[in-house]
Symmetry: C2
Subunit: 294 residues, 2 copies
Amino acid sequence: MTELYDKIAVIGIGLIGASIALAARHGGLAKAISSFDADPAARSEAKQIGLPVEIQDNLADAVSDAELVILAIPVGAMAKVAEDMAPYLAPGAVVTDTGSTKRSVIRDVAPKLPETAWFIPGHPLAGTEFSGPASGFPNLFKQRYWLLIDEGNVEPAAKEKLESFCAQLGAMVEWMDSDYHDRVLAITSHLPHLIAYTIVGTAVDLETDLKNDVIRFSASGFRDFTRIASSDPTMWRDIFMSNDEAVLEMLQRFSEDLSYLQRAIRWQEGDKLFDLFTRTRAIRRSIISEGQDN
Amino acid sequence: MTELYDKIAVIGIGLIGASIALAARHGGLAKAISSFDADPAARSEAKQIGLPVEIQDNLADAVSDAELVILAIPVGAMAKVAEDMAPYLAPGAVVTDTGSTKRSVIRDVAPKLPETAWFIPGHPLAGTEFSGPASGFPNLFKQRYWLLIDEGNVEPAAKEKLESFCAQLGAMVEWMDSDYHDRVLAITSHLPHLIAYTIVGTAVDLETDLKNDVIRFSASGFRDFTRIASSDPTMWRDIFMSNDEAVLEMLQRFSEDLSYLQRAIRWQEGDKLFDLFTRTRAIRRSIISEGQDN
């Protein structure tokens, strides 16, 4: 319950932006919270549900005088928004983002900002398969990691304040570099999403009877994939376009491993399957003991 | 709350067997429930947790005089158990199973049974990633589908009684043929498990630092895969060995679809990704409206 900023601006009022606004308001972290979304429908929805922020009708009003600007938008939109808002940023303003890829965001945003602003890229590891202002909730970040990228040229006080802000939203903050971030996310998030989208797509293309029964009898396994594969299409298209290098590297490894199992099935080599299935169980236990699931 | 059988035998006291025993006892569906597991540790655990059945020390005692025998064992164990129990089956006994593949079970079990027994293969679409007697619970089958296979040579009264038994365990019964069952399950369950095992295996093989951070930061996407990939290794090895034909067919389709997306990522064709990601969202809505998830 520390008021850290006089004014913050949340740009993009989707699941993440709305949740940040709600959590910041609940925590009393800023005197004023200003918000803008390029989509008029999102602005209307935010007003209609009474999101406790000032919804602005243009980006300039939202960011002017803000000490902290949070870009909670698809990574493909970062370059344009950074360029558009740059002239209106207050001197000393800290800009952060919540995008799922970090190298592309640094490439797209950093060169556009004035020298008087600090850029600290970020990424909260939190979300649901829902999107839009009405899907936000203030506890989204509770006990979730929030990764911050230290590009080395930001004054320590600005970094400490942002870290404190994220922590008071409920998150556990970790600092890392952007290359490493993009590789970790490629395997923990991007590849799983790509695979889930693929298998659900494979099912969509089955002949009609079979497809209908796949939907009816989805109870085991497939259902989890459909949840993942119902995430926001724009956001995910942008992620794959932006983290293509790391995703393609992990995908190559995955494809080799899948071919190995495919061959084991074809040649009835059950011991190879059993061996892998035993090793993968151990990973689950590690995750449970890390407290990241229950 | 109808007592349908004087005595039933549940062979295999894992997640499924223990849950059937508990649900049948709670529902008062049989006067006596006899049970056997080839693994002495499972028999001890079942006794220790007070599973409300008579645990027998051999298969013959478990099945003798039983009107219904339920084989809740890995599909790779079906042939041997069917052969071993055949001499002890009561005339007119109904044998069913809970295996995830049906063509292989029919091939392995049907020829071993005496002509005086009826075989009605079955498959409850229910489970968790846990295994063993202590993972069973009586509500496991509630509102889940229970697929029964009509091989055409079973007397109607026996089929009706088994259907009623499954329904009173809480399940929704559907009849289908074994070929169709194996194709539907290949895409809804077997392929998702294979893929989840693969990607978790890919992560296991990463260099140590990266692997540890994959575990720490598993919050989005990957975590769901680790849950799926912690299912019982013996059961799943047997499934892939037994449903190899349908799994390899679906895997081929999946691999083609994945290559298409891989190429789209490499060539920055975002519209192809966006198009698929939009179509897969619709499937999720269908599943939610079918009431198979919430």
